[in-house]
């Protein structure tokens, strides 16, 4: 044998025992193979499937009205009448949205809603963080009982105090303007204002005292400390407040309805009931009306009302969730 063949033969001889592990079936590695396909893994696989099924099932319940709204708003009249068409319309009628925009007078009321919501957000963020700073970083007498009072203001339903509030505002002449909605937010009140004070206070309680001590040593007065040091640090809490305040103020239907009588100053959600009422009256059958409002158009209008919120939320969604975790709202 030449050298090459003999070295090959040596290699074969050296590795002959290892070859057994490749070609023989019953080796010591086989019991791991059996375990791989055992009941244990099978059960875990089934549990995993059930877990995903459960999540998808629950999310179906959550997403059902939303999907229903989108799908129905794209149906044409014949699709609406057709009982067999439930989830997939035969034709996509985007013109429903055009009609809805016209009917809602979208641009005009959109501007109103944007204005009110923005000012209210600014009011909430500024005033609630300001007040919460006092509650969290200073120990003064009656601090705890005053803070429980903040929570108490949340519990009182607004319907109990709405009527005296209305009389008060009418004496001031603020009725028929946006002031009754906007001004309380700059004082820590407004829609669920106490919740924002609570949120900021939990967040500030988690900040180290070194921040203020360092500022104090450098000669910074408390007001300036608040605006230049604490506020930039609390970006996540501010983001959470912005999102929550925006959602609640944009969709608010109760307070603007009570305070604003003049039609030009209405907000966007207040226009929806008018549309729905048109749906329920007999005017539909009136041949003189050149426009037939059907369910699809009304749902398209609803979707358009919530669309800005959806867009903004999808943009900030990640930061928002992180913000809630980091804000210390939950006490950790």
């Amino acid at each position: 044998m030449n050298m090459k063949a003999s070295s090959l033969y040596n290699i074969y001889l050296n590795n002959k025992s290892k070859l057994k592990y490749i070609y023989k079936h019953d080796t010591k590695y086989d019991k791991y193979l059996h375990k791989y396909l055992s009941m244990h893994t099978l059960v875990r696989f089934i549990v995993r499937i059930c877990f995903y099924l459960l999540l998808f099932g629950l999310s179906f319940i959550f997403i059902y009205p939303f999907l229903d709204m989108i799908v129905t708003s794209l149906k044409s009249t014949s699709d609406l009448m057709n009982i067999t068409v439930k989830w997939i319309p035969n034709s996509l009628m985007f013109s429903n949205y055009v009609v809805a925009i016209e009917q809602l007078q979208y641009l005009k009321y959109f501007k109103n809603s944007v204005f009110v919501t923005t000012v209210c957000i600014i009011g909430h963020v500024l005033s609630c963080s300001f007040v919460a700073y006092g509650f969290s970083r200073y120990k003064f007498p009656f601090r705890d009982s005053l803070f429980s009072f903040v929570i108490f203001t949340l519990i009182v339903p607004v319907q109990v105090i709405i009527f005296p509030l209305y009389i008060f505002y009418s004496k001031l002449g603020w009725v028929n303007s946006y002031l009754p909605i906007i001004v309380p937010t700059f004082f820590g009140y407004g829609l669920k204002g106490g919740l924002f004070i609570f949120l900021f206070r939990q967040f500030f309680a988690g900040l180290p005292y070194e921040l203020e001590e360092a500022a104090r040593v450098d000669g910074c007065r408390p007001l300036r400390t608040f605006f230049t040091i604490i506020l930039p640090v609390s970006k996540s809490a501010i983001l959470v407040s912005i999102v929550l305040s925006m959602v609640w103020h944009w969709n608010d239907y109760f307070e603007p309805n009570i305070y604003i009588a003049e039609k030009n100053m209405h907000l966007l959600p207040s226009r929806l009931p008018a549309l729905y009422n048109m749906l329920n009256t007999d005017d539909i059958l009136n041949p003189e009306m050149d426009l037939i409002i059907n369910e699809a158009i009304v749902l398209a209008a609803t979707f358009l009302v919530v669309l800005p919120i959806l867009i903004v939320y999808s943009l900030v969604q990640n930061k928002f969730m992180e913000g809630i975790e980091r804000s210390g709202l939950t006490g950790q």
Binding site: Y189, I197, L272, T330, Q332
Partner: protein
């Protein structure tokens, strides 16, 4: 003459400066209407133009309980609803939060989906989305979703009624639990995983870990969610008793009666919240858990 203040007094002054907007707001926007409302519930409006009030004693409250046929049954059904829905909301949102917290592929998607009902807004939008309109109850619409009619035929009448009302109640509860799920998620993520690892080393099962680690560590969140669930039920447009109070106040011009009913409802809610505080006060874990 310069006033010499000690450090402590200076700090107290600073604190009061910071909370002064809230004090002003409380006096103007809260205490004033609150006291007026109490006065109103005990009086009768004599002249509508100047809102002149005349002391009437307990007459409004008597009217609410003894004279009005609608108030008491509605109030009791509202009490029953609150007592059933609130624990259900807490349990389900905790369950969903635990599910979403586990590592899975589409976590971001699920987090968004479960928050969706909050974005869609107040009960009015939801109500119209389901085509509720005026007399139809939310529960009957939810019935059509969970148990499709073709399946329902096979169940028989009595069993179907129980199951569908149960399932529709759960559906409504789920729709209202968006914010609670997010709060529970945050609370769950604040629990450090070293606790779970230590328990696993000591041989605890998942069930034991839930009761001994998860629940105590998120007890402050449970309290917060409890309060939030109760206050959220006021702004729900489906709430029949709130609707009735508003109708009585603004449509029928019986403002004092509306105020009295509102206060009765508020007392109930307040008692419930106080109960929650006192029950949970000694069991809330206030450490950092780190």
């Amino acid at each position: 003459m310069k006033i010499k203040l000690s450090m402590k007094q200076k700090q107290n002054l600073e604190a009061i400066m910071f909370i002064s907007p809230w004090i002003i707001g409380t006096l103007v926007f809260f205490m004033n209407p609150l006291i007026q409302s109490i006065r109103l519930s005990f009086s009768k409006i004599v002249k509508l133009n100047g809102f002149v009030m005349q002391w009437n004693g307990w007459a409004n409250y008597e009217k609410a309980f003894l004279w009005d046929v609608n108030f008491l049954p509605m109030f009791l059904s509202s009490v029953k609803d609150t007592l059933i829905n609130t624990p259900l909301t807490l349990i389900f949102s905790l369950f969903i939060a635990i599910l979403v917290n586990k590592p899975s592929k589409m976590r971001g998607f699920f987090r968004t989906v479960f928050f969706l009902p909050v974005l869609l807004g107040t009960g009015f939008v939801m109500k119209q989305l389901l085509g509720l309109g005026m007399g139809v109850d939310a529960m009957s619409v939810a019935k059509g979703i969970i148990v499709p009619d073709s399946l329902a035929k096979y169940f028989g009448f009595g069993l179907l009624g129980v199951i569908s009302s149960f399932l529709s109640r759960i559906t409504i509860v789920l729709w209202k639990s968006g914010v609670q799920i997010v709060l529970f998620l945050a609370g769950l993520q604040g629990i450090s995983s070293s606790l779970y690892e230590a328990a696993h080393c000591d041989g605890a099962t998942e069930w034991e870990m839930f009761w001994k680690i998860t629940l105590p560590m998120i007890s402050p969140v449970i309290l917060l969610n409890f309060i939030y669930t109760i206050i959220d039920s006021f702004t729900d447009a489906n709430n029949p008793i709130v609707d009735y109070i508003l109708k009585a106040s603004f449509q029928k011009n019986q403002f004092e009666y509306g105020a009295a009913m509102g206060w009765v409802y508020f007392i109930f809610v307040f008692v419930l919240c106080m109960l929650a505080f006192f029950v949970m006060r000694n069991r809330v874990y206030t450490g950092t858990g780190k």
